[in-house]
């Protein structure tokens, strides 16, 4: 009887010790963003600050409580960005009034040319629910790092340049958790069900 109790207590103690160490580890790394080197961080752990097309300051916390669709691009982009924006406009229309519950944002990787006014003028051609974010280069870099996005300026002849950038569309649940990515060349039929999942 006593032996059994000792074993149970001993086991309980060992489990408790392991749980304590795990908890301590989690507590000590709570401020380290490197949760996953490939997948975007939860929005609730991001720390960027940008400006929307109306000149309003936006932080990730402002999006809390709403599912989010976010993607990176720039308005000088002739092919990928208007195609993505057309796709998203189509998806939002297919979703109907449900899409009003989403925050949908284009984040510029070209803040030198994409001022809030330029973004506003550009986005006027697409679904009005899509907002645009731009800002200081260090804040764009921070957002890109937190979304695990890469972008790069590519010079062209005559002083012009274009941007290479991650083309996927990122989906987040209302509580800020990362949900999924819609790849640029993904079959359109899979996009709307993915968005419906973050709307649930």
């Amino acid at each position: 009887m006593l032996g059994r109790r000792a074993v149970i207590l001993g086991l309980g103690g060992a489990i408790g010790a392991v749980a304590f160490m795990l908890g301590l580890g989690a507590w000590r790394t709570r401020n380290q963003p490197a949760l996953n080197a490939v997948l975007p961080m939860p929005l609730s752990m991001m720390g960027w600050q940008m400006t929307d097309q109306r000149g309003q300051s936006v932080r990730p916390a402002d999006w809390s409580g709403r599912p989010v669709i976010a993607f990176f691009g720039f308005t000088w982009c002739p092919d990928v960005c208007p195609t993505t924006l057309s796709d998203i406009s189509g998806w939002l229309e297919e979703l109907g009034p449900d899409a009003d519950r989403l925050t949908v944002a284009l984040i510029s990787v070209d803040p030198d040319r994409d001022s809030p006014q330029v973004l506003g003028e550009y986005l006027a051609n697409f679904d009005p629910r899509i907002i645009g974010l731009t800002g200081a280069p260090d804040q764009i870099a921070r957002a890109a790092a937190e979304f695990r996005v890469t972008y790069r300026k590519v010079p062209r002849d005559g002083g012009d340049y274009t941007m290479d950038h991650t083309a996927g569309v990122f989906l987040f649940y209302a509580d800020g958790r990362f949900a999924s990515i819609i790849d640029f060349h993904e079959d359109r039929r899979f996009a709307v069900p993915k968005i419906q999942r973050i709307l649930k």
């Binding site: 092919d79 990928v80 208007p82």
Partner: protein, 157 residues
Amino acid sequence: MKPLIMPFALILAATTAQACETVTLGDLTIEHAWSKATIGADRPAVFYVEISNRGATDDALVGISTPAAGMPMLHETVVKDGVASMPHSMTIPVPAGQAVQLAPGGYHGMLMGLSAALKAGDRFPMTLTFEKAGKVTVNVDVLPLRAEGPDCLDAGQ
């Protein structure tokens, strides 16, 4: 509803029917030449088209030129590891018995140095140069920035 739908259908037909012209050059058929409206003349425009080769000889699109832009180039959107880039394409193959599409997300003409902003409903000529078949000029119809392509009855998309 009917009185509302009818004028809308007519407008749609009037604005989209244009890019449905078909031009032939030897064994090549060139159709659905379209572009997207631009905001101002500083941003590059795009050029999309479908080329089919009914012949037995491979050909290739090696250049484009237009009075609408000072520096038109052939590009290909390539997505590698999720990152999109647009390398310059020296030539776009048009193999015998096959069709090639310059379409959103793939091969496209990039029109830099626009002489004027492109507005939906505009039309401009584009001369395509093929390695073997030579040159042909087609009319390019400018569709809204949001357009995904011309709506042609015969469109094979």
